[in-house]
Symmetry: C2
C-alpha cells in the first residue's frame, strides 16, 4: 500500500484537450480512495471484505430473500462471482441458502439471525465513515454532486457505442 498520502490523480499531466479524460480520472481517483479506505476499515475492524458487505447489504434490503441471479444483477457482478461470495458467507453462517419452492433451478438466499445482527453494527459504522469522508462538502455541494452524477448516469445510459457484442 502506498498510504493515505497518495491522493494524487492517476494520470495527471497534459493540459491539452483531454478535459473529459481528466474528469474521468478524477472521478476514478475519488472512488478508488473511498473504496480502499472502506475496504481497509472493514478488514481491520470487522474482519469482513467489501464484496461480502455488499451481499449482506442487498439481503438486508430484501428480507424475503433473493436468488443468485437477483444478487448478481443488483450488485453488477457476474453469476460465478456471487456463487463464491455467497458460499463463504453461508460457510460462516451469516446467510442461508434454500431451494426455491417454485423453481427447481433457483436458490433463495437470506440473512440468518447472526448475519442480520452483525450487519446492523457494520452498516452503522459504514454510514459514519462515509459521513466523515464527506464532511468537507457543504450541504449544497453534496446536493449538486448528487444531481450531476444523476445526469452522468443518464449520459451513460445513452452512450452510443454501448451494446452490440
Amino acid at each position: 500500500m502506498t498510504g493515505a498520502s497518495a491522493i494524487r490523480e492517476k494520470h495527471d499531466g497534459e493540459m491539452v484537450d483531454r478535459s473529459n479524460v481528466r474528469l474521468w480520472l478524477r472521478l476514478l481517483t475519488c472512488t478508488t480512495v473511498i473504496e480502499k479506505r472502506l475496504k481497509r476499515r472493514f478488514a481491520d475492524q470487522y474482519g469482513i471484505t467489501l464484496p461480502r458487505f455488499d451481499v449482506m447489504a442487498a439481503l438486508d434490503r430484501n428480507p424475503a430473500g433473493m436468488t443468485m441471479g437477483q444478487l448478481s444483477q443488483e450488485l453488477l457482478v457476474s453469476n460465478g462471482n456471487v456463487t463464491g461470495v455467497v458460499q463463504t458467507l453461508a460457510r460462516d453462517n451469516y446467510i442461508s441458502i434454500a431451494p426455491s419452492p417454485t423453481d427447481g433451478r433457483a436458490s433463495i438466499v437470506r440473512l440468518t439471525q447472526l448475519g442480520r445482527e452483525c450487519f446492523t453494527g457494520i452498516a452503522e459504522a459504514h454510514h459514519e465513515w462515509i459521513d466523515m469522508m464527506l464532511e468537507g462538502l457543504t450541504r449544497d455541494q453534496r446536493a449538486a454532486l448528487y444531481d450531476l452524477l444523476g445526469a452522468l448516469k443518464i449520459s451513460l445510459a445513452d452512450d452510443k457505442g454501448k451494446e452490440q457484442p
Copy 2:
C-alpha cells in the same frame, strides 16, 4: 456559506437520513459502469486489460522510465501487484525492465518501441470512448462536476478517521 446553514451543518456527522450513503452509492455506480465498459472494450478490441493499460499510460507519460515503486505510487496499487502486471507486459515485449545504474535494488521500466506504438492507438480509442460517455453533459455540467470532485478530494484528504493502522 451562510451562518444559518452552518448551524444545521453542525450535526451532519450524525444525520438520521442516508443521503451521504446514497451519494456514495451513486458515485460508485457511475464509476463502476464506466470502468466495466472500458474494460470490456479494451478486451474486445485490443485484447488488453485495464491494469496493463494503466501501467502503459504511466510509462508513456514518463519516457525516461519509472521504478516499480514509482509505478505503485502513481497507480495507487501495491508493489506486489505492479510486479505481476509488469512481468506479463515484459513477457509480451511491451515494456523493458533494466537494472538501475545507480541503485542495485531498483529496476527501471520503460515502454518498448512496440509498446509505445500499441499504446498510442489504444489511448486514442480510450479518449473517444470517454468523450462519448460524457456526451450527455453540457460543458458547464462537466466543469461543475470536475470542481465538485476536486472539493471531494480535499474532503477525503482531511478525513479524520484516516490513519491508525
